[in-house]
Symmetry: D2
Amino acid sequence: MTSMTVEAADLGRQGDLHTHFRKRFSEVRDLTERLAVPLAPEDQVVQSMPDASPAKWHRAHTSWFFETFLLVPYLAGYEVFHPRFGYLFNSYYEAVGARHPRPRRGLLTRPSCQDVADYRAHVDGAMTRLIEEIDEDQWREVAPLIELGLHHEQQHQELLLTDILHLFSCNPIDPAYAPYVAAPAAPAPLDWIGFEGGVYQIGHGGEGFAWDNEGPRHEHLLRPFRLASRPVTNGEWIEFIEDEGYGRAELWLSDGWAKVREEGWEAPLYWRRRDGGWGSMTLAGFRPIDMDAPVAHVSFYEADAFARWTGRRLPTEAEWEVAARGLPLDGNTLGRGYLRPVAAEGEGLRQMFGDVWEWTQSPYTAYPGYRAPAGAIGEYNGKFMCSQWVMRGGSCATPDGHLRATYRNFFYPWMRWQFSGLRLAEDVS
Amino acid sequence: MTSMTVEAADLGRQGDLHTHFRKRFSEVRDLTERLAVPLAPEDQVVQSMPDASPAKWHRAHTSWFFETFLLVPYLAGYEVFHPRFGYLFNSYYEAVGARHPRPRRGLLTRPSCQDVADYRAHVDGAMTRLIEEIDEDQWREVAPLIELGLHHEQQHQELLLTDILHLFSCNPIDPAYAPYVAAPAAPAPLDWIGFEGGVYQIGHGGEGFAWDNEGPRHEHLLRPFRLASRPVTNGEWIEFIEDEGYGRAELWLSDGWAKVREEGWEAPLYWRRRDGGWGSMTLAGFRPIDMDAPVAHVSFYEADAFARWTGRRLPTEAEWEVAARGLPLDGNTLGRGYLRPVAAEGEGLRQMFGDVWEWTQSPYTAYPGYRAPAGAIGEYNGKFMCSQWVMRGGSCATPDGHLRATYRNFFYPWMRWQFSGLRLAEDVS
Amino acid sequence: MTSMTVEAADLGRQGDLHTHFRKRFSEVRDLTERLAVPLAPEDQVVQSMPDASPAKWHRAHTSWFFETFLLVPYLAGYEVFHPRFGYLFNSYYEAVGARHPRPRRGLLTRPSCQDVADYRAHVDGAMTRLIEEIDEDQWREVAPLIELGLHHEQQHQELLLTDILHLFSCNPIDPAYAPYVAAPAAPAPLDWIGFEGGVYQIGHGGEGFAWDNEGPRHEHLLRPFRLASRPVTNGEWIEFIEDEGYGRAELWLSDGWAKVREEGWEAPLYWRRRDGGWGSMTLAGFRPIDMDAPVAHVSFYEADAFARWTGRRLPTEAEWEVAARGLPLDGNTLGRGYLRPVAAEGEGLRQMFGDVWEWTQSPYTAYPGYRAPAGAIGEYNGKFMCSQWVMRGGSCATPDGHLRATYRNFFYPWMRWQFSGLRLAEDVS
Amino acid sequence: MTSMTVEAADLGRQGDLHTHFRKRFSEVRDLTERLAVPLAPEDQVVQSMPDASPAKWHRAHTSWFFETFLLVPYLAGYEVFHPRFGYLFNSYYEAVGARHPRPRRGLLTRPSCQDVADYRAHVDGAMTRLIEEIDEDQWREVAPLIELGLHHEQQHQELLLTDILHLFSCNPIDPAYAPYVAAPAAPAPLDWIGFEGGVYQIGHGGEGFAWDNEGPRHEHLLRPFRLASRPVTNGEWIEFIEDEGYGRAELWLSDGWAKVREEGWEAPLYWRRRDGGWGSMTLAGFRPIDMDAPVAHVSFYEADAFARWTGRRLPTEAEWEVAARGLPLDGNTLGRGYLRPVAAEGEGLRQMFGDVWEWTQSPYTAYPGYRAPAGAIGEYNGKFMCSQWVMRGGSCATPDGHLRATYRNFFYPWMRWQFSGLRLAEDVS
């Protein structure tokens, strides 16, 4: 977990660090609560599918993380808020003991939303004490864990939004989480940006926080390639639909085609035909499709089939990372609940960050030399390195500090409830 | 639907009837709301299994019934509360149009509990107007439908309680719906009450409300039989468990044995071994088993196996009805949330009503000459006359006016979430 | 098991009885083998659905029955043919020990068909010795068991045919089990035959073999009714199809309607539209529908919906039995593989026996006073008295001696692979 | 499909080539039939799981391949053997039309084994004519297709054996396909063979037949690594079992752990505890485990968990290929039905070929620049490049000519019915 270590230099400025962490802790924790404000208690308790979790559960689980990995081991005299919460709010850490089954998270009508708010306050108070009072020797051990807990909570902030969107999409009366905000139309032409082949350094280099799966940094050999200047748009996706893209077996991976037939897919997840045109559930309720916005809520299978239809391909994650280095992290508008049209201004690659997660053609596996950390913390990333695919970039629901060139998100190839889209690549022959 | 007709004699006393209905309407409707008072919004939205419905859904669906079958056809100028509620809150009436799929009722976090309260108030206001203003000619048609709607709502009052118990049983922290009320221990001996054979009149005779499935009244030939003076108790059920009752194939129907193995049944639905003894989830939370109370939450399969283990049998529904005639309807304590011990005082049959529904050996079929009424109302009972079993008597969750000798309740033989128990019978050889 | 007892009078004529049994034993056993002649080894090993069994399995299981219940207990020095056959060929007798799971019967490519032929010869030889040598004291105990084994084997003869038809229906190249035999067209008009109400004796009376479930004989009260003079024909069923019978929810039981939607039923099991008309797989391969023949391969759900569509109903099993008494047992042409047109000649009820099993509206339950026999033999009928429906009469695949007025066949309401049809009834108002 | 092209040089020696192909064609086709000789017709028809196919189906499908891709397009006047065989024996080629569903292959009792033998003779005769008579212009197009068809048939030869083993493993009487052949015990010590890092050429280079997925040949950057001198043995696997390897979540990928729990895995697929020790079904029937033989019939999940338990890892497919170059292809004893002990003699890497397929840590994806060929032939490999893992080397059931360093076999990570084992690797730090 070296990449999660707080820098040695920082540790010298101990006092500043305490202040920094106190502030950052309360900012992250407060944002979670602000994201829950538009939700009634009823909205916070239901689990709309096994992959999703109730908003209330996200709020409690992130608190459990601090309680379990920080407060119990490091804060003298800390008393757990409730003896059963360890069972209820453990997500998947086998090392920490038995847990409530994931598909049954939506059965927990108690603790209530108010109980969870009390739990959060209890944990926040204790964490504030911990940050104040911890002795200097333990700081080196504790600080990275706090950092980890905050990044963990930020991941759940994104999930809270994507899970609410899924829940609301199941409701025939189309609830809205937030008001719609109009974005200026700005159709952008598609350019192709070329990159040289050669041996590149891939992975996180050490400065700042990164997940363990972003390292070790290592050399990787790339062939020359080109990357599309912008993501695929809804308008382009409609061309695929109208060209019978969902009905032509030859465009699809075998597993993908089986899924298309089995589930009856004929458009991205939240799209519905109404009144003669396509619309989609969004966090602002049901909206007509914006032709110029990036397509979202497509699976890897769909992204791959679309790419084959165009005669091009998805980029590898290494290609994407090489291309993304040094670009502005301009997405970052957590919870705005809509996708911007593709920006016309600017040259080169646009909207690599903060619009849609972009499927790559890379299965999610360990980088050479990777070893999962020991203990429960080691269960965070390593055990999922199987049958999932890497997405890069970050979506309109991704929080601050989770946008960077080396970040590896991963989902199963059939999953569609994230803000997942794609950008095309091609070989330079 | 003749048996649902308001008596001709009553129709003469028109004014009284209006007053009567106004009062009765508000009593039934108010009780539903009172039953929901102990429930947080979170408790009211979740569906813990496809057979159960959220409390909020029960509150809305019963209102939809009045809106659809009374207000829309009979109240001039009535405007439906919300255009999609007809879709959301239709339970199973094919004749009334498309509906939200039953297993997805728990995904409807909106309308909120408060919205549903507003819906109920809207319907109640309009119903009050309807009862006031309806002209005399239509009264004959409308009055039985109001009566039907009220009985329908009372059935959902019982389901609201049984469904909440199931929901709370899924929660590791054992929530309670109501405080526990101690009942005096009163072990009652088991007597056998004999009845003559012969041709009996079976079914509802015409006076007072009854469901269509309680008629037509008809002759039925019975052989002499004896009925146990009281239901089987928890203490007796523990003997069955300890005699390996759940492990001996020869005691079980083939379908029942398959279910036992598949589901791993080893006790009634809500029983758990804790701290060396048996306890059970109840509406008052997790409680130690009361040995003298009637066993509840057993399936027909279990009731049948238990009876075979004793060398006796379950009664037929006709035997039960003949025996129950003229007995006091003494159960009637809706929502008390616990089962009384079997009463020691008194002679003859005890606790036929209002403790547990008693499984009979009778599959639920039409009485000779039965025809389902035409239209949506006809879907109420007839189409379920297949593969279910009749239970008689009524439980501690059954409301006023649903306790009578001819009442036929029916459930699939594997179902256990009702307050379902049994009483033994035997042939007179 | 009194009804299975060989008559005391017969037991006096011991020598005759031995001769009788030897002859009857070889006749029944030989017929099974003759039925298998048209089947290649490949046809005998596959299990096309869990409800069906491979032909080879039927041949072995019926032999296992004699080995287990006769030879092992009664023939001194008998050695079982193979130590694992007890495990492989026990069908469902819990009392006899562990067994190969039913849905995996089709995985047993060994023992081969030839091995099974050897097994049958081994058992037949030993049974012949048993019938010769058994001492007089044991005869009283053994004779009814032999009788039982032979009736058991005859049931499997019918199943062998219905299971082969199902298997062949899964094959796109439409194999035929037997050549087609033309039957003269003979459209018969539909008459209604009336019966008086009153108390009737129902069930087997004692003379000749009967299954335990046909007794005890008991009194049953019937109301006046009328029965159709002949079964429903294919031509009438096509009218039902063309009147959208499979698309109108109001005609169906709730469970039946769910099945129709889930399975996409739109005609009887083996019907297919080809070249603009209806045809059906039969034991003689794929054949055009004969409009005048009784409809077959319909479920109880379909039979019930059809009856509702006509405004009539299915008979009860007691009505059917009362009507069938004394009629000629004229069906009896095991394995002819086709259904005769309904006979025009004659008056009164026609084709009650030996054309199609006729669904009744009666759930399969115990007659009053019924007790299953002790031991493994007691598992034959009693444990299935749950959620199945009674069919009466016997089909074109039913063997000699299984046609009688009191015979109760039973299947789940969704099953269609038997030659199952229906005859209408109506109340006399 | 360039890598499947018959060499230009060869095409000059036309006559030789005809002779060569005639001989090779009959050798491959004859071997298939010889492999079926120990199988009774009963053994050839059953499908024991959806992943496996009946032996008869393999024999017919491989003939269909020649009929469809060679005879119909290239042999003037060829008549297909049976009009429905195209439907029955297409495996998964979407471009060729509708096909019989894979899980229903075992329902085809007809055509019989003899019919399939006739089909094969018909196709062989026509193929012989085609090879004789084809004009020189078409030869360049046809020769690679014949080569492809023969390699395709060889793959099915291996599957025929693995599928029969699975089928026989489902039979409680443990049938044997072939007699057991003793192999001399020869425990081999475990050495570690080192390899340099650097840029290597990976993939097939052009000479001889290769599948399209073995190319394009391309550069790949490797870090220094070490490879075990021999596969993991059964004895080592028993240590893993005895150290609770199947019970420790921390050793497993998340998906793997879910599978272990769901399926109750506690040893390789065919292992059973009997009489106090481990044995396994093999093609020679049930045999005690040979401690010195390579472990087989483990999934990728198990291989990965085992490697983690040892503190080492699986090799990548590129590492394996680099190590395997130039080693003797010494396995090659198709159908011998048993695994040899690991050879003690020799130095360096042993038993890379022909003992067990060795799981790598590489998901099966396209090599850089890969494009699937157009048309039905293009469905052979490309559409499966998703969620499967690469195995290298070849097993004791792999035929001649399928052992080479660049060969990429692929299976889902949970699959265990192939002769799949593993060899460990480690980083050089």
